[in-house]
Amino acid sequence: MNKELLIETKQLQKKYVTDTVETTALAGVDLRIAKGEFVAIMGPSGCGKSTLLNILGLLDSPSGGMFKFQGEDITHASERQRAKIRKHNLGFVFQSFNLIDELTVEENIALPLAYLGVSKAETEKRVTEAMERMGIAHRRNHFPQQLSGGQQQRAAIARATVSSPSLILADEPTGNLDSVHGREVMALLTELNEAGTTVVMVTHSPSDAEYAHRIVNLFDGQIVTENLNVRKHAAELL
């Protein structure tokens, strides 16, 4: 592929040590993700999907191996450096939405911009845009508890995208949703990807994985297969 690399890992390892037990969550993962890709990570429960996503999202640091983000080696970056990269480049979507209960929908979405120091007027504009795109503008002054699961997840996506990140990481984004709302969320992610944002998504659902360009199958902390999503690439290949 001739596309510019966004993420590159070599022999990425993660070990958890608790009291007496040592768990190897990742045992040498080599992964390359280009800008603009939509990658799905699949695998059985406990195989290390979330661990991998958290490391890719700079929420956690690896215990071994190498990790490059936008061509820069950040394997040993400090917490502050990683926070800075997160703030400028990344958006997260979680299975359990993770909205702040004490903030309204609008305030939740505005949060990343606040940490970026975006002006009030600009924030107002971008938050409104994001809410309109997600179809939740009419609920801007509600608190998360007052929203349905689907609406909460759309608010979460709005929050993840409001700062126009180059990479969106989603950990089972449809896990807590019924199929109708799940499909809605997948459509939104695809839309974002088509607009140029790289998306890395962990999922259990093969149908969700269908939306991705590429599927990475993880087992016991190792990549077992990487298949190109044929249907997606049909146009390109043929």
Binding site: L59, S96, I100, E102, L103, A114
Partner: protein, 799 residues
């Protein structure tokens, strides 16, 4: 961003009402007490600071050493002033104050009894720059028979300070022309209703003065204004040689076996001087300042601990927010900032509430402490500074622990759907609870000890019967009235409910006379300064003092007049007399023999031991009239006394009081402090329990599932309440074990101040411990019972 923090903080407060109420109420109570304590401390420390030259003014106090014993007086000799002025050019002014007796003052048709009257010389207002509302301080006291009155006095006699100048006030002996009106701004140890020109006194007493012109006559307060503050220490040094040059030759010449020396007291330290007796006004007690300051810090500490404990206990609830903020790129420092800001906000709210509370409490506090704090105290610059300091201190110190703790959460740990972190460091939280209860317990024990000591003092046998004695303060300087005393006594005794009547110069808890005596000892004589009471034939009977040996004064023995004395047991002991009756004592122009020995009785408060005392017979004594009444029909008897007395004395407003109240007034300061202390002790335990209540509710919540399972398995409600309460009971127990030795040590020290004191009995500690334990368990069990009563099925479902 700030707006965002602010909203989150406020919404959190609003959504967790119990938690917020506990925090804010606890802090507010603590801060309100701090404000009041600060006002008190500031007020006490402000004494005499209003005088512009306060730093250059010192008082010269006298120490008399005799027989290895040193008696320290706030007074010095009249003759000191001219010597000082002559010998020391570094002194700008020397001025002396001489307290006058209580006087009746007449103006037109008005008359009042006035105390706090001081004779002052013309240099006085050069040293102390009182503000004058009328008149010229520089010349006000230059002429004899002039008087400078206080604003209140001017108001009382003339209706207004501007009408005072030139008016004439009549005293029983002289008339005084008003030459100035001063205002009493700020606190001073010099409490005066009026200053009288000393030249009047000096001319009146010319003969006496020259006669008593010696160094032992400590009768005046001597103040010195130095040219420079830096000269105080060198001047003190020079005073040491003063005695050698001026006093020692005089001692030799008069063959006196005692010595006297003079020391300096910086003006601003005088209010807290308890070492030098006979001060102008009752001194303050510096230890109350320390105790109060410590209590203030304790209260803040306890309230801050509530904040820290509840914030971390509740941290699970905030963890997700922290994780999320980090996910979207918040730095740890930003999170710390947010939580510190939040605690600053809570403290600010608490301070606002505290101001309102303090405002409401000011009148009560005033009556408890005998102060006059204004309700707009918070406009004071110092108070604002203190409040800001409190906000910063609590906000930053109490806030930083939860802030650091919360900001440490990692998003990967806290954002997992399935598990939430446990709230905070339980061991630290337990230690903090122990600290809270230790402090509360120390204060409770302290209060109980003070209380039992007060009870001890009041119930102790004083060696005389202080009950049912009415005392009339006989106006001074009215010789006709004094001549009528025998008839008055006779008249009063006609009432069957009046048992005895006595007129004396001295009364218990009042001033004693100190005289130089030469007593027979081992064939020679011993020179000694002794306390004396000048009394009549009936004093011993009125007082109900027991005779141990010999007899009372009697009219049948003509030789008793200037020839007979009664001494107390302490005097016999001091003289080491085996057979005291008949021993010779010479004093002034008396040459007397001991005719009786009385059992020791307390003429002073129980702070001090019974000292050697002489009862000297002067049947014409005209200080006080003591009336011993029978307990029945007291109001009628009192009315009778009043009527009879006023029939004889038509000129003066009658003043009377009761001996028991007068004597117990000596413990008034302690009583007041006991009340204040009691309130604070109650407050600390209350605030500590507020925190405990919050913690218990948190624990119960956390253990809901466990409780449910236990119930399903057959646990009774009682056993679950016990289970939940046990942990807290252990903490209180630990606090009791720590508090007891500390309180024991501290209160034992406090009791050393009293010559007669109660024992630190075990029941005080038992009661305090039991009380703290019960209050704590009551607080906890409320939550525990609530949790134990929950439907187990619901409990298990609750996550």
């Amino acid at each position: 961003m700030l707006q965002n923090y602010f909203k989150v903080a406020l919404r959190n407060l609003y959504r967790n009402k119990v938690y917020s109420a506990i925090n804010i109420a606890g802090l507010a109570l603590g801060v309100a007490s701090c404000i009041l304590i600060f006002l008190y401390v500031q007020d006490e420390l402000s004494y005499d600071s209003q005088f512009s030259d306060a730093d250059r003014i010192v008082r010269v106090a006298g120490e008399i050493e005799h027989d290895g014993q040193t008696n320290k007086f706030a007074l010095s000799a009249p003759t000191l002033a001219p010597f000082l002025l002559k010998d020391y050019p570094e002194l700008e002014h020397v001025t002396q104050l001489l307290p006058a007796n209580k006087q009746t003052i007449w103006y037109k048709d008005r008359s009042f009894n006035e105390d706090k009257l001081l004779f002052a010389d013309s240099a006085f207002f050069e040293v102390f720059d009182y503000k004058f509302l009328a008149g010229n301080p520089a010349t006000a006291l230059d002429q004899p028979r002039t008087i400078v009155v206080s604003e209140q006095m001017a108001q009382k006699y003339f209706g207004s300070p501007d009408k005072a100048l030139g008016e004439v006030l009549k005293f029983s002996r002289d008339s005084y022309r008003v030459t100035g009106v001063f205002t009493d701004e700020g606190n001073s140890h010099i409490q005066a209703n009026a200053f009288l020109a000393r030249s009047t006194f000096d001319t009146q007493q010319q003969d006496v003065l020259t006669d008593n012109n010696h160094w032992f006559m400590l009768s005046r307060y001597t103040y010195v204004l130095l040219r420079d503050e830096a000269q105080i220490a060198p001047f003190q040094e020079k005073l040491k040689t003063f005695a050698a040059t001026h006093i020692t030759p005089w001692l030799k010449e008069n063959d006196l076996q005692a010595s006297v020396k003079f020391v300096l007291q910086p003006l601003r330290s005088i209010h807290f001087n308890t070492e030098y007796t006979e001060d102008i006004s009752t001194p303050g007690n510096i230890s109350y300042i320390y105790i109060f300051s410590v209590v203030a810090v304790f209260l803040l500490l306890i309230a801050s601990i509530n904040y820290m404990n509840l914030a971390t206990a509740r941290s699970a609830k905030r963890a997700r927010e922290v994780g999320l903020r980090k996910v979207v790129g918040a730095y740890r420092s930003q999170i710390i900032g947010q939580f510190i800001g939040e605690s600053l906000l809570i403290t600010l709210l608490a301070v606002i509430l505290a101001l309102a509370l303090a405002q409401i409490l000011v009148p009560t506090f005033n009556s408890l402490t005998d102060k006059q704090f204004n309700s707009n105290f918070f406009l004071q610059k110092e108070v604002i500074v203190v409040l800001l300091a409190i906000i910063l201190f609590i906000g930053a110190v109490a806030g930083s622990y939860p802030a650091i703790f919360l900001s440490r959460f990692k998003p990967v740990d806290v954002l997992k759907a399935d598990k939430a972190p446990r709230g905070g460091n339980a061991a630290l939280r337990r230690s903090l609870v122990v600290i809270q209860f230790t402090i509360s317990l120390i204060l409770i024990i302290g209060t109980l000890v003070v209380f039992s000591q007060m009870r001890f003092l009041k119930n102790r046998d004083l060696g005389f019967n202080k009950e049912q004695v009415l005392i009339i303060d006989i106006p001074t300087g009215d010789s006709t009235l004094v001549n009528q005393l025998p008839s008055i006594k006779q008249e009063l005794l006609r009432n069957p409910n009046i048992e005895h009547v006595s007129n004396s110069l001295n009364i218990p808890a009042g001033d004693l006379s100190t005289i130089l005596v030469y007593a027979e000892k081992d064939g020679g004589t011993l020179q000694n300064a002794m306390n004396a009471m000048f009394v009549d034939y009936d004093f011993v009977d009125v007082m109900g003092i027991d005779l141990k040996e010999g007899r009372n004064f009697s009219k049948e023995f003509k030789t008793d007049l200037k020839g007979g004395l009664i001494v107390n047991e302490a005097a016999v002991k001091k003289m080491q007399w085996k057979n005291p009756i008949g021993k010779r004592i010479q004093m002034a122009d008396w040459d007397a023999k001991v005719i009786g020995v009385v059992k020791d009785f307390h003429v002073k408060s129980l702070h001090s031991k019974v000292e050697p005392l002489i009862l000297a017979l002067t049947p014409e004594s005209s200080g006080y009239l003591l009336v011993r009444m029978k307990p029945q029909d007291m109001p009628a008897t009192i009315a009778f006394v009043q009527e009879k007395w006023q029939a004889f004395d038509t000129k003066h407003p009658m003043e009377y009081f009761f001996m028991d109240e007068y004597f117990d007034k000596q413990y008034r300061a302690e009583e007041k402090m006991l009340t204040v202390f009691g309130y604070f002790a109650g407050l600390t335990i209350f605030i500590a329990c507020l925190g405990l209540f919050g913690l218990a509710s948190f624990t119960a919540q956390q253990r809901t599932k466990e409780i449910g399972i236990r119930k399903v398995l057959g646990s009774s409600t009682t056993s679950i309440v016990l289970l939940l309460s046990r942990d807290f009971a252990v903490l209180v127990m630990v606090a009791i074990l720590i508090a007891i030795p500390i309180a024991w040590y501290g209160m034992d020290k406090w009791l050393q101040d009293f010559a007669y004191r109660t024992n630190l009995s075990w029941w005080i500690f038992a009661v305090a411990g039991l009380a703290a334990m019960s209050i704590a368990l009551l607080t906890v069990s409320f939550q525990a019972i609530k949790a134990a009563m929950l439907d187990p099925i619901k409990a298990i479902r609750t996550q």
